[in-house]
């Protein structure tokens, strides 16, 4: 008597209730991460929120209560709409449920509205739209040779302290936007370059800061999609790509083109009236340069100037907090200089990418493009470091050298975001959370990827890097003690407020520049 096992053994009958059969292609541990992060993020609802919260609320109001022709003209609030049209449409969609929940959210004149409804609603939209990021990261962990490592990297991105600080406390929609970016990268990994180009064009119309990455996309799509491996141009593919991109831009800008509002729109998107550095110096090359200038100026003041001092530079920013920086000693930097430096450095990587148009090469070149812009761009925000950290995370498991770069850049980058939150309660959270994240992400990856250093320089560099990483501990201690010391030692503590910020910025800049050099070297020397 032979038995059909599926029928005979009652133990093997499905013991799951009907709703369990609706399971997606998601494992329990992945649900765990989602549950954990959602629960944790919803605990942050009452946390500090920056003016960006009001900015986005105002955009909800603008898109809901004004006709599309007035979106880019409205100046009721000082927080005017300065994102591209797709983001405006996105806000329009979000404003519909908002108006049902509480009509006062979308009231244009109801400035600085901070009732529980608007807080809960806007915070919830961040969590919900971030599900796109979750879904894309999930797809990243599928169909790869080492799913465990990839899953770890995906989880590390989903739980990234950068997103926690910038999105869930400070308030922005980066999780959602990086979801689109990663979707585009995922399409590139799977070989759907047309889709990749499409999603990147969409992303550009959500937030134009992603133009930092555009050169890499341009070169890669041109070389890998529009040309055959032998180098001949494939016109069909080229026109397909061009059409897709043009269609996306028409969908976005079309209405404004018809209304003739493009110049107004552009003036909103690209306000070229800002200084070299942001109020808080982003940890890039200019931070180091500005600091050098300050040191030289102090030197000149104390010991007599042996070089010419620019008067406007002296008055401009002795405190290091002022937005518009002009140098007192060093030659001043104009936007064109930063632009030229950025482009010429990017060219090196783009030529490499042109030669090796593979996915891995593309990913590295993409990271480096963003990295170069972050390092040498005009008026870079510290939040832009996410543009570096996110694609770099995808490279972390490549080998130990990449992993080490990732560790340095992530540690420095996340630490450089800390000054974004200045309320003590949130500072505790960001430090503790980042520590936990670093521990759980770096530890296992280090175990998987560790390689013994093979030469003396490698040993020395490794030691220096480790010392640098431990230095963050002291940095945090010093930064914490600074306000207390200033209160005890000096008469006017406000004068010293800049010091912890400057220290953080400089220390992180050192790490980020070193990681940049490392990554460039790795990329250029790869065969």
């Amino acid at each position: 008597m032979a038995v059909n096992p599926e029928k005979s053994d009652p133990q093997q009958l499905p013991r799951v209730p009907w709703f369990r059969k609706l399971a997606f292609d998601v494992t329990s541990s992945e649900w765990d991460i989602l549950a954990l992060s959602t629960a944790f993020k919803s605990l942050l609802f009452p946390a500090y929120r920056s003016t960006d919260f009001e900015v986005h609320r105002n955009w909800l109001a603008i898109t809901h209560s004004l006709p599309i022709s007035k979106w880019y003209y409205d100046t009721t609030s000082e927080w005017t709409l300065d994102y591209p049209p797709f983001f405006a449409y996105f806000e329009k969609v979000l404003s519909i449920p908002a108006s049902l929940i509480d009509p006062r959210i979308v009231d244009l004149n109801n400035l600085n509205y901070s009732a529980w409804t608007v807080v809960a609603y806007q915070r919830t939209t961040v969590i919900l739209t971030e599900l796109l990021l979750a879904a894309v990261l999930l797809k990243f962990a599928r169909g790869v040779p080492d799913p465990n490592t990839q899953r770890l990297i995906s989880a590390s991105l989903f739980l990234h302290p950068g997103f926690l600080i910038v999105d869930h406390i400070h308030f922005q929609y980066n999780g959602f936007l990086f979801g689109i970016l990663l979707l585009s990268i995922l399409q590139a990994r799977q070989g759907n370059l047309l889709a990749s180009g499409f999603f990147f064009a969409v992303l550009l119309n959500f937030k134009h800061i992603y133009m930092y990455l555009a050169p890499a996309y341009f070169v890669y799509l041109l070389r890998a999609f529009c040309m055959s491996p032998q180098g001949s141009v494939l016109p069909n593919k080229f026109f397909a790509l061009a059409n897709v991109v043009i269609l996306v831009f028409i969908a976005s800008l079309g209405p404004f083109l018809l209304m003739g509002q493009i110049p107004q729109l552009l003036s909103r998107l690209f306000p070229f009236t800002r200084g070299l550095n942001h109020a808080y110096w982003a940890p890039n090359a200019w931070a180091i340069l500005t600091a050098t200038d300050r040191v030289l100026l102090q030197y000149a003041k104390r010991f007599g100037a042996s070089f010419s001092v620019d008067a406007s530079g002296v008055s401009s920013s002795s405190r290091g907090l002022v937005g518009d920086t002009s140098f007192a000693v060093l030659p001043s930097i104009r936007p064109i200089h930063t632009f030229l430096i950025t482009i010429s450095l990017q060219m090196i990587f783009l030529i490499k990418l042109w030669r090796i148009p593979t996915y891995k090469s593309f990913l590295t070149a993409l990271t480096l493009c963003g990295y170069t812009s972050f390092m040498f761009g005009w008026h870079v925000h510290e939040k832009a470091v996410l543009l570096v950290l996110v694609p770099l995370s995808l490279l972390a498991a490549e080998n130990y050298a990449y992993f080490r770069t990732f560790v340095l850049a992530s540690t420095a980058g996340v630490t450089s975001l800390f000054p974004l939150l200045f309320t003590p309660a949130e500072q505790v959270i960001q430090v503790a959370y980042s520590l936990l994240w670093a521990f759980v992400v770096f530890g296992p990856l280090q175990q998987r990827l560790y390689e013994f250093p093979r030469s003396l320089p490698a040993v020395i560099v490794g030691l220096l890097e480790t010392t640098y990483l431990w230095g963050f501990l002291f940095l945090e201690i010093v930064v914490t003690l600074c306000p207390i010391l200033a209160k005890v030692v000096t008469q006017n503590p406000e004068r010293w407020e800049f010091l912890p910020l400057m220290l953080t910025s400089l220390y992180c800049a050192v790490g980020l520049i070193w990681a940049y050099a490392r990554l460039s070297f790795l990329y250029i020397t790869t065969k």
Binding site: M1, A2, N4, Q11, P14, V16, A35, A425, F439
Partner: protein, 702 residues
Amino acid sequence: MDETESHILHQTPHRVPRIRTVSVPSQPTPRANGFLKPNRRPLSPVGPLLVPTDTYDSYPEILMPVPLRHRALQPSPDTWIRTPSPSSSRAISPSSPVTGVFPRGYHNYSSFGAIMEAEKETPLQEQGLGRRWLRWMHKNGLKHWVVPCTLLASAVVRWCIGLGSYSGQGTPPMFGDYEAQRHWMELTNHLPTRQWYTYDLQYWGLDYPPLTAYHSWLCGKIGSWIDPTWFALDTSRGIETPTSKLFMRSTVILSDYAIYLPAAWLFTRVWHAGRSRRTQNAALLTLLFQPALLLIDFGHFQYNSVMLGFTLLAATSFIKGRDLLGAFLFTLSLGFKQMSLYYAPAIGSYLIGKCLYLGPRDGARLFVRLAVVTAGTFILLFLPFLPPFSPISGVLDPITRIFPFNRGIFEDKVANFWCATNVVVKWKAWASQSALMRLSTLFTFIGFLGAAIAPIRAWLRLKNQDRTGVVPSVMQTVLLLALLNSSMSFFLFSFQVHEKTILLPLLPLTLLLSVAPHDSTTFKLGVLANNVGVFSMWPLLQRDGLSTQYIALTLLWNRLIGYDPFVALSHATYLDILTWMVYLGCALLHLMEIVFRPPARYPDLFPVLNVLLSMPIFFFTWLWSIKSIIEARWTAGGLSVGGPKDKKANSAFPTESPGGVSTALAPVEGVRNRREGRLRVQSLGYTAGKRQTYSRATSVVD
């Protein structure tokens, strides 16, 4: 059947594990496949394999040795580890369709990676976020960092809850519990001890025992050192600056980390000493993230975890055999909040039982020592209120403040017996206050009879066995159940109970469930009572503006411990069905609250419904604690004493003779009893699991 089994037997050696790299679901391939050779002789020495022709008639005969399907493709992937016999006698070639691997429609389009992951999921015991995280940490060589990470994570979560609002935020003139605690810090710092319990009683007069006062004094001292305006006398009333809030929140977390966390950590290491490190850490996670305690202490704002921590430390000391230390710690707990009197019957009876167990000489000595330690600790705590530091009447101020017998039988809506039955019987109209007080005392007394008797009986029964230094492991269960029983009966029946008091019964219940198997009643009921406990505090939490935290923490904790009440109907027990109905009720009530406004005639409609839904669960838990404590008592001494049934069994099988020698007829239980006396490595969950077989064995003997 025989054939099947013989096939299985003979086939087994030929089952060479082979990895099949077929994606799932694979398409049925045409029959004309190279692997199917109808006329080949079987390699098996026994004979051709038979194929069920009724369902698989498309395959005439497959005459091949059966390759083992990949584990991930086995039917019921979670059972492969438990069943040594092959699950199928049907010959399977690599090309045969792989249907029915997973339940239909389940994982229909799963990727191979997802299936591999699903395969790794071991049954019930291993489920839950906490368990999976622990396994991941162990696999990645972070084993020794589990506890530091847990501590850090729990600190972050506690801190994040603290971002929210607290009891009485922005509600002058009286504010709430937060202001009460802050006010005590203020008055203990500025007034002489004599006035602590007498100063302006109308505005949050101090009504907790002296240890709370000392704790407030310490916190106030540190706070005044940082910023004196936070605790300036009278002028600081209702101060709500962000920094003062930050300081107050951090005092709760620091107190919690000073007392409750070490207590929870010690509990897992001492009580579950025989269990694996992972189980211990999973228990730690269960304790640290218990939502009711988190919400009340770090959201609403109180210091319950200090009181609970002292009690837990005391219980751990008792289990370690350090009775004097335990008595000291429990007195501290009493000295922090009088509420821990709810535990007193259980602990008192445990200690009396221990004295009796030790015999006249040792027992009397222990008794005297305990009395001295307890009295000494109390005197120490009340020292500033006693002569020569204050007149003899001075001690009466704290006493009258701590025990306010002049309030009603219940104040707010609380899910206890009196409030729930008040819907039918209007107690306050029906009887005078003093009569009600007497009645409630009587009910409470009857309620904790089990807790008062069981430990003594259990100790007495253990008396027959040869004594060792260690406390028999069965006393662990008895002690916890006694704590549960006595605190729950106080909660249900005593006078003047607050809804937050549910934390007291929830502590022993959570301790019990922390290592219980997921399909045991202890676990199911424990989690149900915990969830309903949080639910019963919903009106309070909603008032405090903690609704988001309420949802997030409850769901997180349930996910963390891997609680899953929704089993298939065919496998559901009565408890499961009750659980569903309760959760349905909770969900409906929440929904109604959103949709409808309560009618003007019954403004308290929703709180009352909440009470009516929660109270039966607590009542049921109380009944269960009585039943379990009786069962646990049986395990203490075998079948020697008990009801008439057991007496008969006793006469038939004298399992325990004074010298510990069993008769020839002694059943297995006798052996087990003696082992229990010595091997204290068996911990709670183990005993609880065994208990079922044990009671079954009893009926067999009968």
